[in-house]
């Protein structure tokens, strides 16, 4: 009886969860899967060779294909007018079976001369070898490629299929990824430098002072991100508040460049992400017994030593949680760098947005998206493990 009611309760719970689970499968998981699929989908061979893959369906993958298949292939090859597509096709097929480079060029010239050709073996006897036809069939039927994923980290396959670096100056993705890491790291360090002492100050006070300090952290957190970014725009611009003050005081003659450069982005992002550093550290600090520091002092430790040996190690867990949260959020930041940063301060999100909305290169947008998603997820799993350990401790 109890077991039965437990089971029916389970079923009821599942029925209640189902609508949201389905909603998220359709509108959260499916878009991410679509993005990943676009990144690895390979339309080159199937779009260059639209008819031959159907003609090859009946083929036994051993004998030389029939005249119909050879004619279909010749037609497909003749219909490729775009030299770039032909080049992609050569590279694609050559990476599966070497020798295709000369074979395809030779065959393409032959089919262009003779419109009625049906016997490719007469053009080149290599077409008798089923290995070449298997490569054609696999490529035309296959739909996967690692090209975009490799290009996301500035790699490509050479004609032999080996993975090599792209030539210098053709792609800046690795630079962007590196810059994203550096900026996220710098913002995280700034947040620690400001957030750790601030959380300690907040934890050491009581009453209205603590309320004020925490309120100062929470109010920006609750304020619209765009409002905060617009506010920084007003403060940092060439005739903004900081430059106005500096010039009124006679400290500088011309405006100090604070906006559309990296300094501005770091200042604004530190402001936006600081609450995520302060709050975890603060929650760890208020859990530390109040009498530890006096105890250290009574045993003869000078304040600096007591701080370094007692308070700092104990607050480290909060610092790590906060740093993970800040770094993770900073990696995927788009709005603040897009509005406050210059062209040279754009992070990976801006490049993704450019590929998706500007260049309509979905494959590359998806591949860089996978890189960003993977980095974020790894950090999130580490964060979850840390916080679950904390809950158990």
């Amino acid at each position: 009886m109890t077991q039965q009611s437990g089971l029916s309760k389970r079923v009821k719970s599942c029925a209640l969860i189902a609508p949201l689970a389905l909603f998220l499968v359709f509108f959260f998981a499916a878009p991410l899967v679509t993005m990943m699929k676009t990144a690895v989908s390979d339309p080159v061979a199937s779009s260059a060779l639209p008819t031959v893959s159907r003609a090859l369906q009946e083929w036994d993958r051993a004998s030389t294909p029939s005249a119909d298949v050879q004619k279909a292939f010749a037609d497909d090859l003749r219909n490729i007018t775009d030299d770039e597509l032909f080049g992609d096709l050569v590279r694609r097929l050559n990476s599966a079976k070497s020798g295709f480079r000369t074979l395809l060029v030779k065959t393409r010239n032959a089919v262009a001369e003779d419109q009625a050709i049906t016997d490719l073996v007469a053009v080149d006897k290599r077409w008798r070898d089923s290995a070449f036809w298997i490569a054609v069939q696999d490529a035309a039927g296959a739909s996967l490629t690692d090209r975009n994923l490799l290009a996301a980290v500035d790699l490509q396959r050479d004609t032999g299929g080996a993975i090599v670096s792209m030539p210098e100056g053709t792609s800046a993705n690795r630079t962007t990824l590196f810059r994203t890491m550096i900026m996220a790291g710098v913002v995280t360090l700034c947040c620690i430098a400001v957030g750790l002492p601030f959380a300690m100050v907040a934890a050491s006070t009581t009453g209205w002072k603590r309320q004020l300090l925490l309120g100062a952290v929470l109010l920006p957190l609750w304020t619209s991100l765009l409002v905060r970014t617009a506010a920084w725009y007003i403060i940092l611009q060439d005739n903004g508040l900081i430059n106005l003050t500096l010039q009124t005081l006679g400290l500088t003659s011309g405006p100090v460049p604070l906006i559309f450069n990296r300094l501005g982005v770091v200042i604004a992002m530190t402001h936006v992400l600081l609450p995520f550093m302060v709050l975890p550290i603060f929650s760890v600090l208020i859990g530390i017994p109040k009498n530890l520091m006096p105890a250290a002092a009574s045993l003869g430790a000078p304040p600096i030593r007591a701080f370094l040996l007692v308070l700092l190690p104990l607050s480290l867990r909060g610092v790590v949680s906060g740093a993970l949260l800040v770094f993770m959020s900073a990696l995927g930041y788009y709005i603040t760098p897009a509005l406050i940063g210059g062209a040279k301060d754009q992070m990976i999100s801006s490049v993704i947005a450019y590929y998706a909305t500007g260049a309509a290169n979905w494959g590359m947008a998806g591949a860089l998206g996978i890189v960003l998603l993977a980095a974020t997820m790894i950090l999130y799993v580490v964060y979850l493990r840390l916080s679950s350990e904390e809950a158990r401790a």
């Binding site: 719970s13 952290v217 920006p220 609750w222």
Partner: protein, 261 residues
């Protein structure tokens, strides 16, 4: 630490100023009569508020934000509350804790990544450049806030109250309607407010899935800062900040009421 009280006070004040100053710096500019968004303010005027409510682009974006925000709030609150009821009392089960983690994931996935995926997929489903599409996109990222608030509220409910109602002959539906939901209401209201605020402030997904007809205030602010910065943005920011304070007050009120009940 007692040896450094002055240093502490100075540092604390400096950080408070760093955190608060930007918000207060933008407020007076909402009332400038200049066409430039900088200090000093030549004269006081309401012209940018007037612009906000009469200029076609702004007025339309305000209406869009209210419409999309309302849609998102309803959808996210209903889905999130129902799912939270399902998660309740199953915290020991591995399956349900996996569900809970998954429900919070939209908060973690970078918005640009989700945006690219949604743009691709919504184009296939015919949801691109539609109000329904934007509402769905906003709902996805608003869900975690509803889940967090409502599950917390449900955890705080004393099960004995529901058992008492049931033992007095109330059917499960009556218990839910007359005991559970009223007790969880402060959490549901907070979740709904957070959902609305999320939708109001959302830019990245909107950039990817909305067409020119679904331009929201946040989207309009984004392009104003990017293309032709004008004090209208300060007026919009003024309304946002005042709205934030009102909303924060409402949430505090709802929580106080919940504590009293």
């Amino acid at each position: 630490m007692r040896t450094l009280p002055i240093g502490k006070a100075v540092f604390g004040t400096a950080v408070v100023i760093f955190l608060m100053a930007p918000l207060f710096a933008i407020l007076p500019l909402a009332f400038t009569d200049s066409i430039f968004l900088n200090y000093p303010i030549p004269d006081f005027s309401f012209r940018w508020f007037h612009e906000l409510f009469t200029a076609n682009a702004w007025r339309r974006s305000i209406l869009n934000s209210l419409l999309i925000g309302t849609g998102t709030t309803i959808l996210a609150t209903v889905l999130g509350t129902v799912a939270s009821l399902g998660l309740r009392g199953n915290s020991a089960s591995l399956l349900f804790s996996v569900f809970r983690t998954v429900f919070l994931l939209p908060m973690v996935v970078p918005a640009v990544v989700l945006g690219v995926g949604m743009q691709l997929m919504f184009a296939q489903y015919g949801l691109a450049n539609t109000y329904v599409g934007v509402i769905i996109a906003h709902t996805v990222i608003a869900i975690p806030f509803v889940i967090v608030n409502v599950t917390a509220a449900l955890q705080g409910i004393d099960r004995r109250l529901e058992n008492a109602a049931a033992s007095l002959g109330a059917s499960p539906a009556v218990v839910l309607r007359q005991v559970t939901l009223p007790l969880a209401m402060p959490g549901i209201v907070s979740g709904a407010v957070f959902a609305f605020a999320t939708s109001l402030d959302e830019v990245v997904l909107t950039l990817f899935v909305a067409g020119p007809n679904q331009r929201t205030v946040a989207r309009q602010m984004f392009s104003t800062i990017r293309e032709n910065i004008s004090p209208a943005i300060a007026a919009a920011a003024f309304l946002f900040i005042v709205g934030t304070i009102v909303i924060a007050g409402l949430i505090l009120l709802a929580q106080k009421k919940g504590q009293r009940a």
